[in-house]
Symmetry: C2
Subunit: 354 residues, 2 copies
């Protein structure tokens, strides 16, 4: 039976990517060896890394605009530390917007290195909305926000302007919608949503903002060190970078971000429309802040739960149980999830109402 994979991450990847990714484990580029048993300094892998880095910049419209793309390790969680290390001056200050678990974790690490001002938080309503109309102090080194909040199903639609640098954790919605990415000074994203498997993190950084903090930065935490070595300062996560490259190539072939954005909007509209019109369900996120990646909703009548759960399981749906912080359901509809899978879920929601 066909599976409909709504996992919040690591999440669904395109089938054609998985096919190539599986082949490369046995015989990479017809060289008779596995991709994971050759040197990362060999020409075939250096080409993979360079392709991945340029595809990332190209898809974001940031080629030849003074940005570098890096594929690092440690996930967004290590970026929570690297960002202040590289951007917060000694004795400096940073502003953070608190929109959930991951923002809070980023704030915690930044506080180890300097002054952090939390300019706004939606914690008062279990993070079910994006704070607006807050003021960012003019003297901060940077402002940090999380573009999409996987757990709570919220997404920033308008990014604020700031006198400092604009830094964004786009782990769960990068490459899913068109933005003017050149407004951002630093973007980072764990690969395991729209980009590839867990194990690598994309960092896109404007070169000119680096080297200005006066700090001594440990080598592995220093973006300039990684840039100077073309993202190969140490052995990279070879396989995760390769599958990311395949996924970025798939997206490019599909027409890039503007093409996938239309598909993502159609999927989100289909599902939110059902939630709003079906009396059995309620969305948990404020309507104007709803995420086009993670759709969170409650079943109003708990007595229907066993029946609903049985129905979607029978239909081959997986990964839609809500996060424990919110409860209910969460349908993650990332780039690689076909509209067809959303239709299957919507059909079941309609049948439940009959």
């Amino acid at each position: 039976m066909k599976k409909h994979n709504f996992s919040a991450g690591p999440c669904i990847l395109p089938q054609e990517v998985l096919k190539k990714a599986s082949e490369a484990i046995l015989n990479f580029n017809n060289g008779g060896l596995s991709l994971i048993e050759i040197s990362h300094r060999s020409a075939p892998f250096v080409e993979v890394m360079e392709n991945a880095r340029s595809l990332a910049l190209e898809l974001l419209g940031l080629e030849n605009k003074g940005y570098s793309a890096l594929f690092l390790q440690g996930g967004a969680s290590l970026e929570f530390l690297m960002v202040p290390y590289n951007l917060m001056k000694e004795g400096g200050k940073a502003a953070y917007l608190d929109t959930g678990t991951w923002s809070s974790a980023a704030i915690k690490e930044a506080k180890l290195l300097g002054n952090v001002e939390v300019v706004a938080s939606s914690k008062d309503k279990n993070y079910n909305y994006i704070p607006k109309n807050f003021t960012i102090p003019s003297d901060v080194d940077y402002f940090h926000c999380t573009s999409n909040n996987t757990i709570y199903g919220t997404q920033i639609k308008e990014f604020p302007t700031t006198d400092g640098l604009l830094v964004c954790d786009m782990s769960s919605d990068i490459f899913s919608r068109q933005l003017d990415f050149s407004k951002f000074d630093l973007i980072y994203a764990g690969a395991q949503k729209n980009m590839g498997p867990a194990g690598t993190t994309l960092v896109v950084v404007k070169d000119s903002i680096l080297g200005k903090t006066g700090r001594t930065i440990p080598s592995m935490l220093n973006y300039q060190v990684h840039i100077s070595k073309d993202s190969m300062y140490n052995t990279p996560a070879v396989y995760a970078v390769y599958v990311s490259m395949l996924t970025l190539q798939w997206l490019k072939d599909l027409g890039g971000i503007s093409a996938i954005e239309k598909i993502n909007e159609a999927k989100a509209a289909l599902l939110y429309n059902e939630i709003d019109n079906n009396p059995l369900f309620t969305g948990t996120a404020a309507k104007e802040d709803r995420s086009n990646m993670n759709v969170t909703f409650l079943l109003n009548d708990e007595s229907l739960k066993a029946r609903f759960d049985g129905m979607w399981k029978d239909a081959g749906i997986s990964g839609i149980n809500g996060h424990r912080s919110v409860g209910g359901y969460r349908a993650s509809i990332y780039n690689a999830l076909p509209l067809e899978s959303v239709q299957v879920l919507v059909d079941i929601m309609q049948q439940l109402n009959k």
Copy 2:
């Protein structure tokens, strides 16, 4: 044609591991989904992580001895920073043995956090031997060494005793030979030699040594944080951990470290014997310090180089060019490399002498 993969790392992995690893990309555990598109919190992956952690301890003979095994990201290079962060007291001191590029890199990062005493170095002879008879000050928090030096083909045979903690980077020879691993307080190793693909790092640490430095340690750099979350503080490098688990299981099925050690000794003896008896070749490492993992040697007569290179390429051999710091050749004969491949190389060396 069969390939003989002497790559220094990432390096050869067992064929049966690669076969399973390839299948898991398409259909993991017959669940209809790829291993790389399911949640790392799902039961099937939690089982993989737990298996990998216990296999590591079991193979090292460290089960129920107060050690934890972690599969982290960032390679040995990030451990160069994590070790002093977790083990060097504020105002404390550490002793390091300098046996090459990787020791030097570890020393550099440790110096950012405190006093580092380099107790001995073999830099004077391009690291072609292991220093001996050095004194480790009694007041150090820990002593750090690199058990095997991939680039120079040297390997520590006898580990010193120290009043401080004993810390070892075993990236390139872990699981290759029997040692009393309980003598070590902390062992770390990038996976990409004897354990799996690049992208994860095994850390085996005695729990009782942690939490004693008085430092505030960033979350991602704190071993206690990772231990408290069963090595899942953040999304782990799912695929690299899975392939490591398969490789550790392969080693266990083979009879564990004592079994592979015999095979490794036979491979090394075959090749070193040829180097010593064939007048066309010279080994570069001091005999008593020769590595059983990386065999470095020179071709005495450069005019034979084109012929020799043609011969081993024709035989399907790859990955034996020496590192630029040493020149000549380096045959890496890690756990998964069959004796047959070494025999093919030795046959060519003998033919070159006819």
